[in-house]
Symmetry: C2
Subunit: 381 residues, 2 copies
């Protein structure tokens, strides 16, 4: 199996992720932050270590500002719904995933209005359009760091500057970039950063998180046992407890810590370098095949390791199926939970076949993918 | 280490839980329900298998009615907030955990009123008190199945009958009982069942779930990518997708499936029998020690495998600390995130030392715990 579906979840993980998760499960997976016995304390320390590593990776000041969630979707819901009130206005883009667009749609019923800035047909955002869309009641600017459909990288730093100048909270959806690109919440003026644990950060599924600037008062989404201030029936406002009711995913967070540890050792430059090289190879290979249409920038420097194509008018689902069945190549077809992005690039009806690259892919994987598409194109075009 | 903190999280787990989780992580942990390639399909099948097993355990009709959450707290928040609207009234008990009491407290600001039925000093609930508290606008009855402080078993069947007769949805918090007691959603007239995956069900942390009767329209708490109806910006209402936005905790759910598989093989009667025997031993042993006060029914047939005590006026935290440090016995002290229950039994200031029994505890563990408490009591009383 050649796995090119890393934008859905990265696979495989570094060996140390498997090893430490299994060790945690077998040796110290007590309930952290609840009881005071040694196993519970060991579990608590392991979770804290993951917070610290995420702080190093994202240049976050305090580990207490890192909130664990079950995935990026939960993090986005928490940030979006916890911040926005009736009468607020949001600026976002036409390249967002449903994990941003659907919570915003749900908030319309509560009197929140949204402006979707149109991106061009390659998914590029003009930051000046963000600026022009700002209203008096704009309470949040939220953009994806890189499209999960085309890989198009967004002008995060420029948008962060605009947000800072105008005093508007800036939220970044780093679903496709955390662990691969340098993300510096201070340098980029990011007030809220949502990230999955199981993609570029190389942790297991069931993990993700949210960085919340200490200047923001974000309402929690869930109340419950926090192990702190147990005597009170009101949810405590101490962070991260306020947002982490209930027993956490200890083994998962431990695995995430190992993934982030792996990234900190290798460095994001090396990781991004590898993915950029393979993305370049894939784009180059596809560009030579008659009948293949590449979406997005088609330039490895301007996009994440995500390449969407179609072959003639072929059904994207069928091509993805052939890639799996006949070539053992895992891709994802259809709309990728991002109908807005597909409308933007003109593929709402056909969808695309998406190849997404991870750190453990090799040049041989890419060569095999190009050969497979060549053969399929020769058949159907 | 003698682990007697199973009410916080069960430890250890059956070997098959560790083995299958590691296998999933290493071999097939793709993104289920998103892509169509063979790894994604294998992950999807594994998740479905867990749903099926939970249906067998709880006598739930369709696997589609089982919603996975990250823990019981999330399940309770989803059920409570998804069902209650402004002007609604809720009947609950004075033995509830903060995972019930805090969401209800938060809803007061939204115009939901709550009646807490007082239980007696052993934690017993009179179901007639539930009936008497019902008002015209009562929209939910929610009780715990067993107190996490005293273990007191609640009259679930009687309350379920009352709820059915009056046409009011009945929600059960099975945090301390799922996997150990027979829970039959039809027989007990349970409309919503919230359960953790990492306690009696023997799965890993980061798992839990909610059964929702098909007759109820529960609003989702999060919107996002579901892998279904991706073209729509409105959250799809198909279940369980409506409630499971974002990538699930695949390896965790696989582990939960193995825990439930283990339970289905052994049978809850055998599991409950073992815990009841050890609970009886522990109660019997403690009852002989001068200065030890036992809370709750002090009768193994009337309580879950949870025994709370104090030794004289000794600080519960200090005693729990001595048990850990000097005897290698893991317990939990304090309020156990249940201040209401501690007020009910009169231990709000002192807290209690809680011993909670799991399937893998042995008679030797219990003997050691009794000896340790004997020695500590001899020192401090």
């Amino acid at each position: 199996m050649i796995y090119l579906d890393n934008a859905a979840t990265s696979f495989p993980k570094p060996e140390r992720v498997y090893v430490e998760m299994d060790k945690c499960m077998r040796q110290y997976c007590a309930n952290p932050g609840r009881s005071g016995h040694r196993l519970a304390l060991e579990a608590g320390r392991a979770i804290y270590r993951t917070r610290e590593r995420l702080c190093r990776l994202f240049n976050i000041e305090s580990p207490m500002q890192v909130v664990f969630t079950s995935n990026a979707t939960e993090a986005l819901n928490l940030g979006i719904k916890g911040l926005l009130k009736e009468g607020d206005h949001v600026v976002t883009t036409s390249m967002e995933h449903n994990s941003v667009a659907r919570p915003l749609t749900a908030l319309k019923a509560k009197g929140v209005s949204v402006t979707y800035i149109g991106c061009d047909s390659k998914g590029h955002l003009n930051p000046r359009d963000i600026e022009r869309a700002i209203k008096k009641n704009t309470a949040l600017i939220i953009i994806t760091h890189a499209s999960n459909v085309t890989g198009t990288l967004m002008p995060v730093k420029e948008v962060g500057c605009i947000a800072k100048e105008r005093g508007i909270p800036f939220m970044l959806d780093a679903a496709q970039t955390a662990g691969i690109y340098d993300i510096d919440v201070k340098d980029m003026n990011i007030d809220i950063l949502a990230f999955p644990g199981h993609k570029g950060l190389m942790g297991p599924q069931g993990t993700g998180g949210l960085y919340i600037s200490e200047n923001l008062d974000v309402l929690q989404m869930k109340e419950g046992g926090t192990g702190s201030r147990s005597e009170e029936l009101d949810q405590p406002i101490v962070v991260p407890d306020r947002y982490e009711s209930g027993t956490p995913n200890t083994a998962g967070i431990v695995g995430l810590g190992e993934g982030v540890g792996f990234i900190l050792e290798r460095g994001t430059a090396a990781i991004r370098g590898h993915e950029e090289e393979l993305t370049g190879m894939l784009l180059q290979g596809f560009s030579q095949i008659k009948g293949v249409k590449i979406y997005g920038p088609a330039n490895p420097r301007l996009q994440a390791g995500v390449v969407s194509i179609n072959i003639g008018d072929g059904d994207s689902g069928e091509i993805s199926y052939i890639l799996d069945r006949s070539y053992g190549i895992a891709t994802r077809s259809g709309l990728h939970c991002s109908p807005l992005a597909h409308r933007t690039i003109g593929t709402f009806d056909q969808g695309t076949v998406r190849f997404s690259i991870g750190y453990f892919n090799t040049r041989e994987d890419i060569e095999a993918a190009v050969r497979a598409v060549e053969e399929i194109a020769a058949e159907i075009v």
